[in-house]
Amino acid sequence: MKKAFVIFLLPFLLNAQADFNVIDESKWLTDFENAIKEAKKEDKNVLVYFTGSDWCPPCKMLKTDLFDSVEFKTLSKDYVLLYVDMPRNKDLLSPEQMAHNKQVMGIYNKKGLFPLLKIVNAKGNALDEYSGYSMNGKIQYHLELLNKYR
């Protein structure tokens, strides 16, 4: 019975994993301390992306329109990428990851805005941010922000 239940759930679990893989492929980190270490090592700024991956419509569209774009793939090479997800479905993250993400939210996204791109330097100081998305493919403002701090 248990096996049948797992088999039944498998497509859903794989789908959730596949959804995250799109982000993972672009070398997104999920731990703030690691991101800062990496930024110091490589002398780069950190791009922190705050998202509600399973409930925020503009976040979902931004993932396709911005993060899959050729421009982003080029610009992102000059950043250490940090992915901070606050999903509605708590099963999508481990309790430790959720606690970590809440902590990062408390420091860099106090208003709790989604989607939010935040630029943080290797010392952990916030430099700039851009919140929201038009949901119509206009990503020039997001790209301007990334160009400014690369």
Binding site: G52, W55, C56, P57, P58, C59, R88, K111, G112, L113, F114, P115, L116, S131, G132, Y133, S134, M135, K138, Q140, Y141
Partner: protein, 108 residues
């Protein structure tokens, strides 16, 4: 019969709570409407609260033009926010509705 009724009441209460939580969450979802030439942009929450308006200096010399830009861009922003708001709330409400034939069409 009463068991079913109680179950249904419980589910409705649960749905009401989910709808309230979704409404609260939509306050944090930021949408943007940018004029086609990029001279004016409006930030609005998915609960239709306008949070920011950015106007390029070049629009400040012509009052009438600025008014037209504002009307057009604000209306588009409100429409976009309304779409997101209605879609999200309908999805939550649909989840919690009992399976009654014909009910589906209410949420389409």
């Amino acid at each position: 019969m009463f068991g079913d009724m109680m179950g249904m009441m419980g589910k409705l209460k649960e749905t009401q709570e989910k709808v309230a939580a979704t409404k609260k969450r939509l306050d944090t979802v930021y949408l943007q409407e940018i004029s086609s030439d990029g001279l004016l942009s409006v930030s609005i929450t998915a609960n239709r609260a306008i949070k920011e308006i950015k106007i390029d200096d070049s629009l400040l010399t012509d009052k009438e033009q600025l008014e037209d830009y504002l009307i057009l861009t604000l209306n588009k922003a409100i429409e976009k926010a309304t779409n997101v708001n209605e879609t999200e709330l309908a999805a939550v409400a649909k989840e919690g509705m009992p399976n009654i034939p014909g009910m589906d069409s209410l949420f389409k």
